[in-house]
Symmetry: C2
Subunit: 337 residues, 2 copies
DNA sequence: TTTGCCTGTGGCATCGATCCCACATGGATC
DNA sequence: GATCCATGTGGGATCGATGCCACAGGCAAA
């Protein structure tokens, strides 16, 4: 056993201090009776040996783990990175460790593996941002509490934290309407789930309230990435009957639209107004600044962790969805018709 | 024991399948002899019960963990978010799970707790981006292999992955010199550690090679955040003897400089040229685009994981530092004097 | 003196998975 | 027919930490 400095275990501490493992455990954890001098001695030896308890072994014995999983859609997107930062920090403040996984360039098979890894690690619960539907299903089947952030697959069945998509989208659209715009294009990735659906509804509601009919040709599914959005935007804005304003439903699509506008040599807001959902850093750097519906993504992450911890406290309560405010930040990219 | 659907264990699988735990273990892991029909039966039972092995228990028994820790400076900085994404993905591809922690708004005490958590979780090794010096010290003391990314506290003592800071800074400075600039300011956070030191050296080397003396007044310590950089930049660029070009040593300081320039109403590159180290997304969105030294941060993260895994294979080999290329991307923010 | 309680400590089983070892069976070889 | 080996299976110890229970003293009340 002459291993080169094996890591110290509780047994090592106990033997060095000349007490039993039970006593050492009590001294270190502070549970149960320990005579003061003995306690001091154990603490000193533990310190001397550089003893750090093995949380794996502890969790195994106690059958609980103070760790949560976080699965984010894509860390390279500032929105999700901020969300992860907020969740990570809140978890740490609450004494939980986090298993943060970036779904990034993963395949469907990867998603399954990630979900299984969370179960295998026996995390207390998982924070989920939009990925494949298989993940929440798998976790639900294995009775792992989840909190869906940004988008909810099962609004009634699970906890969630979302921004008020409809109100935000409505505010953005109304802002354009007030400036006199009537031909307002909506760039959106999907309209089937809560996020896209809410933003679409807000857009429609604003138009309806202003007595403007929804033109299906102006609602364009751009795909999920910058390139898809850019290509569609070039096509639409390069045509003869182009809209006077564009509402991009998220920061990625807004970037595509912005690049297309620059490419076509159009002036903002002279030729076209642009408003985005989700205020990315670049929107306040460019000239003119991009009017955007800001959502506090750091706070969303933190709120999700708080919701999850509340769920762990009360496993049987009814699912709750926390709805955060979205606020319109007016900048130079929107102007009168 | 009539618990409401307790999670299935290996014992449950074994009993249901009518075999011993040993046999069930062999069937599932594929190690040792198992008759084919028995193997099939065990696999079917495991599937039916939704059995997922407890990696904690497995690691405890095997005394190895296929997980690594990743500590990033600040996820809200795109550079570190990308780095984390790259590391996370590479780790997953290699079959490792990651404990990703965002240092974000942490105090020194938090740092100590984070380092201890890594040890407590018995991670195989840790990827470190710049934080407090206490972290690498603590981990080294506990014999946890580390790879320092972006900045190395102990270049000779530990593995590292860095970009070629000197060459990148030199290229940026030479670019400005070639355009005729002579009064080139350097905005930098620190010059004591590898990152800042390398960039400073590159700047000095380029000036020296061109026969231009280094003016200490033009090398400004701006602090670590956007606001500090902006304030210093306003002060310096608002004065009468302002430089004709600014080299910002990272994306944060570049943002401060950019905001200051906009605030002062200066034109780029007419009044002043700007070049940045680290190509952030906004730099290609603004007009004119910002000339920048690009480092592949996703690849840095991936390279760090590969280095760490190699270290786990060979614990005693000499420390290695991987140096990645930095390439200058010329955009509109730099122009002739 | 006996009973009872409180304090302090150690023995030992336990969590879930693994794996060494013993043992059992069957067929092939001498 | 005895020996041997290959194959297949189960018993039980083990990893590190915890916590129940038993037990040893000491002290106070009856």
């Amino acid at each position: 056993m002459s291993e080169v400095a094996r890591r110290a275990t509780l047994r090592d501490v106990a033997e060095t201090a000349g007490v039993s493992r039970s006593t050492a455990s009590r001294a270190l954890s502070g549970r149960g009776y320990v005579a003061e001098p003995v306690r001091k001695k154990v603490l000193r030896t533990a310190e001397k040996l550089g003893y750090v308890p093995d949380v794996m072994a502890r969790n195994l014995k106690q059958q609980v783990s103070r760790s949560i999983g976080i699965l984010v859609t894509d860390l390279r997107n500032q929105f999700y990175a901020d969300l992860a930062a907020g969740a990570s920090q809140q978890a740490r403040l609450s004494g939980y460790t986090t298993m943060l996984v970036d779904d990034g360039l993963s395949s469907a098979a990867d998603d399954a593996a990630i979900a299984e890894a969370f179960v295998a690690l026996r995390v207390g619960g998982v924070i989920l941002t939009p990925t494949s539907a298989a993940v929440p299903e798998y976790l639900a089947r294995h009775r792992v509490p989840i909190v869906e952030v940004d988008r909810q697959f099962t609004p009634d069945g699970s906890d969630g934290v979302v921004v008020d998509n409809a109100a935000g989208a409505r505010a953005a659209t109304e802002h354009l309407l007030e400036l006199g715009h009537r031909r307002i294009a909506l760039f959106i990735d999907e309209t089937d789930w809560t996020t896209g659906r809410g933003r679409y509804d807000g857009y429609v509601a604003a138009l309806g309230a202003a007595g403007v009919a929804v033109d299906p040709d102006l609602v364009v599914a751009t795909g999920w990435d910058v390139e898809g959005s850019r290509a569609r935007a070039v096509q639409m804005l390069g045509g003869r009957s182009r809209p006077t304003a564009v509402f991009a439903a998220n920061n990625v699509l807004a970037e595509g639209a912005w690049r297309a506008i620059a490419e076509l040599g159009l002036s903002v807001p002279g030729d076209i107004s642009l408003v985005a959902f989700d205020d990315a850093p670049w929107m306040s750097m460019v000239t003119p600044g991009v009017t955007a519906v800001a959502q506090d993504s750091v706070e969303m992450g933190a709120a999700a962790v708080r919701r999850l911890l509340a769920r762990l406290e009360d496993p049987v309560g009814a699912p709750q969805t926390t709805i955060l405010d979205a606020t319109l930040r007016t900048r130079g990219s929107t102007g009168p018709l």
